[in-house]
């Protein structure tokens, strides 16, 4: 059986790894020194609940069973393994004196948080096209395809500000 290319998050910078679909997740993580420790969990793929249905206050997600094979976990399609994460990540987005709050799975992309935040703040997608999420307190603007697990670095909380993207020279 051909090996598959996977992306391992949560054990330092995200890295590309290869494994067989028949490999057991526990063994793959052990090989890469990425087994979860006490109180840490592993998630698979990408959760888009907040993007597809932004009304619920939290994601319904179950951590991955380490005893299953990569094939059984759907990894040949889902591709991403998020290890050593908290059970959930509580996200607050600050904007114009409001600060909506929601609990996300660690395998949520920033793009999903942005969609949810605009929905909760009743921001029109066209009018708010230039709004992006800036991390607090670092001030960094993460990529839309960054995962919360990569930003939280083991923490169970993240705070963003919704800010207008600028082209800093300013002149158009």
């Amino acid at each position: 059986m051909n090996s598959i290319e996977l992306f391992l998050h949560g054990a330092g910078r995200p890295v590309v790894i290869e494994a067989q679909p028949s490999d057991v997740l526990h063994d793959v993580l052990a090989k890469h020194d990425a087994l979860p420790r006490q109180g840490e969990f592993v998630y698979i793929g990408e959760v888009r609940h907040a993007q597809d249905n932004p009304d619920p206050e939290h994601d319904e997600q179950v951590p991955a069973d380490l005893a299953l094979t990569l094939k059984d976990l759907g990894l040949p399609d889902k591709r991403h393994i998020h290890t050593r994460g908290p059970r959930v990540i509580a996200v607050t987005v600050e904007f114009n004196g409001q600060s909506p709050h929601r609990v996300f799975g660690p395998h949520t992309m920033v793009e999903a948080v942005l969609v949810w935040a605009k929905h909760r703040l009743h921001i029109d997608p066209v009018a708010g096209a230039e709004l992006v999420l800036e991390m607090v307190p670092s001030g960094e603007v993460p990529r839309m395809d960054a995962y919360l697990s990569d930003l939280a670095l083991g923490s169970a909380e993240l705070t963003f500000k919704l800010v207008k993207e600028v082209n800093p020279q300013g002149a158009v």
């Binding site: 290319e5 992306f7 391992l8 910078r13 995200p14 890295v15 590309v16 591709r79 991403h80 997608p125 066209v126 096209a129 230039e130 800036e134 001030g139 960094e140 603007v141 990529r143 839309m144 395809d145 993207e165 600028v166 082209n167 800093p168 020279q169 002149a171 158009v172």
Partner: protein, 160 residues
């Protein structure tokens, strides 16, 4: 012998950030890493559907000094083997960041670079003062393509 810049680029093209976007269908590399005619490489950046507009935009990147400073690039006409004619560059809502980055008039390298602090042709003669948006070592070829994919799928992007 490969230069440091070439080795850094090859490592980033094989890295998780670039490969993930590629597998996600956000962009594609033109050819293979082995086929790169240094310092130029091509990527196809996928765009949101707009009437009479391409599904993806071909960008030629000039990766000179890759890893130690901003690179540059431009939308490319593969048939003519030159920069895409200015009038064919992506359009965006006037006043938007997307329109600013892709503008083809009124700066040093119109139609041959991107008006943004991550493009070295735009840095010359300007003071890009805001550190939040400045180029930094962490800005790899993956970040360039991710940013362009975001702009080309933005509500502000109007098509060709």
């Amino acid at each position: 012998m490969s230069t440091n810049a070439q080795r850094l680029l090859e490592a980033d093209l094989a890295g998780a950030a670039f490969r993930a976007g590629l597998l996600h269908g956000d962009w594609a590399l033109g050819g293979t890493t082995a086929e790169i005619a240094w310092p130029y490489l091509f990527t196809y950046v996928v765009a949101a559907p707009r009437p009479n507009s391409p599904e993806q935009w071909l960008v030629r990147w000039d990766a000179t000094n890759y890893g130690s400073g901003p690179i540059t690039g431009g939308f490319w006409d593969a048939q003519a083997n030159t920069f895409l004619a200015k009038e064919q560059w992506p359009k965006a809502r006037p006043g938007s960041v997307v329109a600013s980055v892709f503008k083809t008039e009124g700066w040093a390298a119109p139609g041959q670079g991107f008006y943004h602090p991550w493009d070295r042709t735009a840095l010359a003669g300007h003071t890009w003062t805001d550190p939040v948006w400045a180029w930094k070592l962490e800005v790899t070829i993956a970040e360039y393509n991710a940013q362009f994919h975001r702009w080309l799928t933005s509500e502000d992007y109007l098509g060709q």
